[in-house]
Symmetry: C2
Subunit: 210 residues, 2 copies
């Protein structure tokens, strides 16, 4: 039926593949496909090749599992980064998010996800063992758990915390949770607000840490 | 700077190419690229290949310029369509829109755009001459101008109307314009409402034409 409507197997297949992208329905996919048809052939081919190239040839840092051009990524191999502080994040875009703050000088460890039994993601499919190995090899003073503030993130935090508990000298921290900067109390959810009252901090500390 | 932020030339190039798509900014492009990295290699490669294949191998009907798998498209070559009625549309998605109504039994002529001097689109870059040729070859009784109700659409309508004026036997019609089905008068723009009063139709006609 839809095949008939599109009058072309090529268009049908492009629309089907495009509509598998997150947030792209069949209508948007059709709009994109017709746009690809209208513009220069070189540009459309460049997009197709960039997608194939990305998926086939991307490499990951053997140490932190961030995207990398080389065996160890630019962050891991930079002498100006503090290799003794490791920030554990869910995925590559979180590394970018933390980097954009320009507040962090340590290195990373990308898990590749968080524990989510509902989606069939157990600890074994994540880079948790390799994190424990890095700590075993020594030279790490602090592990910062920077996973999402969701139930899955909390589960993963706790799992990692237990795995790392044997290393008694290791400092394990997590991101501060509380009222987001710029938010009105009125519109802050009650769990966040409740926690920020319980875990209130010394006002004088805010001068030192900006 | 951004190259540095992405830590990979492959990711950078995929994001750049994706962000050229209409309605996709760099942030969405990055989200899409990371999604492409996460899911099965076969799926991402299929998307890339579908895009290249679409652009390289798509064919157009030599008669109506609609997308086609064959020399003349399924609509043009169907014996059940009225070849003497030609509906002139801006592009391929308009053919699909009219087909979805299931109210039209004639054939099409896809212009490939509308006259728009601002965008450098003159009559010569559109399939207007080939429309005149089709009429010259005979067998066409009616040309329906189904271009968008914009200034560019009106300009193109008028240009085609003048080109076809010498064919005195030819009936040239255009889409009915008026209050859209389901619209409140209160929220209908005044130009549309004004025109629909001027061009009011006989109430009894609505019984025959549903």
């Amino acid at each position: 039926m839809l095949q008939e409507e599109f009058a072309s197997r090529l268009l049908e297949s492009a629309v089907t593949e495009l509509s598998r992208l997150p947030g792209v329905g069949r209508k948007t996919a059709l709009r994109l496909a017709l746009h690809l048809l209208r513009r220069d052939e070189a540009q459309s081919v460049a997009l197709g090749e960039a997608i194939i190239d990305l998926r086939r040839n991307i490499r990951y840092c053997t140490r932190c599992h961030n995207i990398s051009e080389t065996e160890t990524c630019a962050i891991c191999s930079s002498p100006s980064r503090t290799a003794s502080t490791v920030c554990v994040v869910e995925n590559v875009s979180d590394v970018m998010a933390v980097e954009r703050t320009r507040q962090y000088q340590g290195v990373y460890h990308v898990l590749g996800g968080v524990i989510s039994p509902m989606d069939g993601i157990g600890p074994d499919t994540l880079e948790i063992d390799s994190l424990v190995e890095r700590v075993e090899q020594g030279g790490i003073d602090e592990v910062i758990l920077a996973l999402p503030a969701t139930m899955e993130g909390d589960t993963t935090n706790f799992y990692i915390f237990r795995k790392l508990a044997p290393f008694t000298d290791l400092k394990i921290t997590q991101l501060a949770r509380g009222v987001a900067v710029g938010n009105e109390l009125e519109y802050t959810d009650e769990i966040t607000l409740g926690r920020s009252i319980l875990h209130r901090t010394l006002f004088s500390d805010s001068f030192n840490k900006r």
